[in-house]
Homo-oligomer: 459 residues x 2
């Protein structure tokens, strides 16, 4: 039920990622009615995305707070708080909201990323008023006692044990982030460092709640079989009654210094069967590029990673897996929907008698080839079409659409960014692709992670 | 005149380091009169170390604030503030204090570390009242206007350019720290990241001053041709008039998570002639060991690094430089006087036809040999004697003694720690040495830095 959106993704999920996170607005191919956007007097932004194909609504409340807004030493409080939101309020018993969703055959979920925390339910339209009432209630009325908090902390520690500490890939991913980010809080895992989770307490929780859980720090996204006027009226009856919270300063976080070194992070673990590597570089996100006037770079990075490693048509897959047969997997991904700078990742794993070093060298060679030789218009067009198609597919999902709007609006983007985005993707040229590859994918600044069997060697 | 104490030291300065920073109290061999320690009503701790050999006094004021007490995004403010302390006050023109020191033939200096900031003058005893008056004055009466601050920021940026940005070793050292420390603020350079220095402003400076520059957050150390009663009387006339500042919370900083990976940091630069490497591991400091009940480990680490790499009698020097002739330098150091955990560093650089990889392998082999074979009582005794002799030498310097007391008392240590320390060094056994080597110097958690000529290769 509860989840974490790590910036670092499981391999091969580049497409799933684009579905979930990409600032997508190929909605013109899918949508029937326009998206509405309005703001309540208490500061809550409301987005309504009509989708009449089935009697279903997706109700998502997004808070503009995530793991990277935590104070130093308090890692994990954003995700911990996500769990606490399922406890009781002054008006609802613990678990009552979840039971109500289950009774009516609905689904619910919640997730925390570095940049946002979101809660959602998918239900029939007649249950929407109830969902809004419950969600508005827990925005302000949670009961946060030690009896609630202390046992939940053990649940979180257990979650960390099973998701990270018992998974060599999870451990490595944390230390790669801690190495890649030298100054920015993306260095810190969303779930929190174990020893810091263990110290989180009632004061931390109430301080966090009072600071960040307020209508003026949230975005409500309602997608489905409902119209904007109905949502507005329901919102006036529910969310509008929640008082505005404190004015928060702009989300300006510590910025990365220049990266001057190449770095490696190696984990050897007896639980690892087949070795693998991943190579990461810091690159702009859509939001950071807008702030830094790096127009067009995120779009070029989206298509660069599509060409290099986006699925089975990509260069890396074709060359390493299909043609040479040295890799069981090889690919690339980029997640542009973050508030601050993000990373491009290339990855690979050997097959048969091939070594990890051979696979890495072959991946490096593909990067050099792209930087030196560029891409043709034809290859770019094919990649662009694949990419846009995957977005159309994403936009076809009601919850996918809701997630696109929520994640964009909580990471510094606007609805206009979403609307204009397909056109911006269409404008990317072969020269743009080559420029971002050359600018960012330097061996002198790569951070490479190696996951090796005990006794294994990366070289 | 102004300086930074980096935790990361230039190679070969292990002995100088011990002189400056080690919690040394071989004073019984040197001192004639006992050290006095008292606290003024406003919270200022005063230490007086009589030294009658010459008509000189060393007057040092230490503040319990350093680079690692800065807020995220404000790196460099502690060191910046050190510069600002040389500007004018309500009572003294800019530069007046420094001119006064120069006129009487004295010396002055100031330095900032991760954990403390200190100011000192060495003058004839008759000038001590003047020094105390000026130093007490600038504790509270600085004039901090934009006219003062903005030009000094440019001075700091220039200092950073010459000390770090134009020095490949300086750049590498910063990124090694940013890699070694995954969560603790020792990841951040004391001088500050360039882009953050450039943003520091008057509000940052006044906030920092008001919070940290107060008698209850400082230690006055006076060493030299003066007695405690005289110092006490002078302090009552000067420092005692400065009002107590805000009560500060304990200096509890974010703690490192488990380190599970080995990491490398590589800088290739055309300015590098001969390649070199250094290998670092997180280990306890004297203060962190006391908090974590790791009694005896810092003492064992001091002697382990003496045996492995403390000067020309050490194993690394004898084996790599003298016997095999493959290294131009090889050694080890450990700096135990930090508030939080610190690191052990081994280093080496090839000579002649030898490669860096050969030197690194030989250093690694010495670590394995020590872990597997241990050390003999005789080798330990010789190393211990060398180590204690270097401390006696350090204690023979008036400013060295003052620094020992100041650095210990501002990093969580006590005068008793200083007094007992030689006996604790005498108790270290061969088994203690082997245990800390085995516990901490694992290849699976080493962070290795490579400084290579452009086009060079670590392997």
């Amino acid at each position: 039920m509860l989840g974490i959106h790590s910036r670092r993704l499981a391999r091969g999920t580049a497409v799933a990622l684009a579905l979930l996170f990409g600032p997508v607005a190929v909605a013109q191919e899918v949508r029937r009615e326009p998206v509405s956007d309005f703001t309540l007097a208490n500061g809550l932004e409301v987005v309504v995305i009509p989708d009449r194909r089935a009697p279903v609504v997706t109700h998502m409340l997004w808070y503009k707070v995530g793991g990277s807004d935590e104070e130093p030493g308090k890692s994990g409080i954003a995700h911990f708080f996500e769990h606490l939101m399922f406890k009781g309020t002054k008006n609802a018993k613990p678990g009552e909201f979840s039971r109500r969703v289950a009774e009516i055959g609905g689904q619910e979920n919640a997730f925390t990323s570095n940049d946002y925390t979101a809660y959602y339910q998918q239900v029939s339209p007649d249950a929407l008023p109830d969902m809004m009432r419950y969600e508005a209630d827990r925005m302000r009325n949670l009961i946060l006692t030690d009896e609630v908090i202390v046992p939940e902390r053990d649940v979180i520690l257990e979650e960390r044990a099973s998701r990270v500490d018992s998974d060599p890939g999870g451990i490595l991913a944390e230390e790669i982030d801690a190495t890649l980010y030298q100054n920015h809080p993306y260095a810190t895992p969303v779930i929190g460092w174990r020893h810091e989770i263990a110290q989180l307490n009632r004061k931390d929780a109430t301080d966090f709640y009072d600071r960040y859980y307020a209508p003026n720090n949230a975005v409500l996204v309602v997608a489905g079989d409902v119209d904007a006027e109905t949502v507005r009226k329901l919102a006036e009856d529910t969310y509008a009654k929640v008082p505005r919270g404190p004015d928060l300063p702009p989300r300006i976080r510590p910025v990365e210094p220049d990266q001057n070194t190449s770095r490696t992070v190696t984990l050897k673990d007896p639980r690892v069967g087949v070795p693998s590597f991943q190579k990461n570089w810091l690159v702009p996100s859509y939001s950071s590029a807008a702030r830094e006037k790096l127009d067009g770079e995120p779009e070029a990075l989206d298509l660069l990673t599509e060409i290099l490693g986006g699925g089975i048509r990509s260069r890396l897959h074709q060359e390493l897996v299909v043609k040479r047969g040295i890799a069981s997997s090889a690919g690339a991904y980029y997640q542009g929907t973050t508030l601050d700078q993000t990373d491009v990742t290339l990855y690979g794993s050997p097959r048969g008698a091939a070594t990890l070093a051979e696979v890495e060298a072959a991946v490096d060679a593909e990067v050099v080839k792209l930087i030196e030789g560029g891409v043709t218009e034809e290859e770019l067009d094919r990649a662009r079409n694949r990419f846009l198609r995957s977005l159309i597919f994403a936009a076809d999902s009601q919850s996918g659409m809701a997630r696109m709007y929520g994640s964009t609006l909580t990471t510094g983007g606007t609805i206009r960014d979403i609307d204009e985005w397909p056109d911006r993707i269409r404008k990317v040229t072969p020269e743009d692709i080559r420029n971002v590859a050359k600018k960012y994918l330097s061996p002198d600044t790569a951070v490479t992670g190696y996951l090796l069997p005990a006794g294994g060697n990366a070289g």
